[in-house]
Symmetry: C2
């Protein structure tokens, strides 16, 4: 490759990466707002300001696009969560950690993921991919939770305590789907953070 070719190539890769990212973000927004039935590659391409052909170059099928989108945004959220506690969390941060974990399940990412899960429960071609994705994202969230809560999983019951907390966070996300459940959620989080303190120490 000549130097000139190489110089041209790098910005092209950058442009391609930027296009891909725009498509992924548009896909999550679309899924959160319109659900699986209203989310097609064309709708997302238009929203991202990308041609349908370019979208299909990046993501050959609708399933490719939407599973990649939920995974991408989940990774962004994990990174943001770790960044909230760059030095790790102290014991006094536990309530803030529980609140931050619960926040993972109340925004547009959770709405998008929920639409994808529910669609996957009815559609055979989506189901194995979403199952695999959910288990990967779930393991990563569990890992972060253990780390930030300073939970010692070698002690009996601690693993299940953390799992139950994440199940609760998911349930709180569901309770927030139709109405703004913020006030009630804050009281539940405060109480369970206190119970967790007793269970983890």
């Amino acid at each position: 490759m000549s130097t000139a070719d190489r110089a041209e190539r790098v910005p092209k890769q950058d442009r391609s990466r930027a296009t891909r990212q725009r498509l992924l973000e548009a896909a999550v927004a679309c899924l959160a707002e319109h659900g699986w039935a209203g989310s097609t590659v064309s709708v997302v391409a238009e929203r991202a300001g990308v041609s349908r052909g370019a979208a299909q170059h990046h993501f050959p099928t609708r399933e490719d696009l939407f599973t990649a989108a939920v995974e991408y945004v989940a990774e962004e959220r994990s990174t943001a969560l770790r960044a909230l506690f760059p030095e790790g969390a102290a014991a006094g941060d536990r309530r803030a950690v529980v609140a931050a974990l619960v926040d993972l399940y109340t925004g547009p990412l959770f709405r998008a993921a929920l639409h994808l899960w529910v669609a996957a429960s009815d559609e055979e071609q989506l189901r194995p991919r979403v199952t695999e994705l959910e288990s990967r994202v779930g393991r990563e969230t569990h890992r972060i939770a253990v780390e930030l809560l300073g939970a010692d999983e070698t002690r009996p019951g601690v693993r299940e305590t953390v799992q139950g907390l994440l199940d609760m966070a998911r349930g709180l996300g569901l309770a927030n789907l139709l109405t703004d459940d913020t006030a009630r959620r804050e009281r539940v989080v405060a109480q369970w953070a206190a119970l967790l303190d007793g269970a983890l120490d």
Copy 2:
């Protein structure tokens, strides 16, 4: 009304009630299996072995049919839950009570309700009805949980403890949507029933 008229009338009411019940049960099964998009009055009427006209006599709109169906089955489940502990529950029953509460969220009723919630989050004509239904069913489930757990809600934090438990149950239902999560769920339930014991006594 003559005696003969009355004699004829009672079985007619019975038949009408039986038809209504068949429609409601078929509607929940349909919603759990095919989701909102695949659930129409015609599909349900056929599944219930009832004419489309008769179905529309009972439920003028699709929204009427499906919200009534989820409410009907939720009431059936509440009755069945109370019947499990006809004398109320003793302190030693707590783990069994938690397991029974969690079971409310893992069967076809939860799948049906989840499809309805998710559809309601995108559809304006469904949203207020499902919001109202969810809040009514949620209050009733909370009432049963408080009663069976022997929780004293005048003590600070107890109300939120019970709420968090029901949020966790909902989250466990979601985790069971794509894969059979029974084994993990049983371990989480055992651990959280123990934590709850400490929090409620």
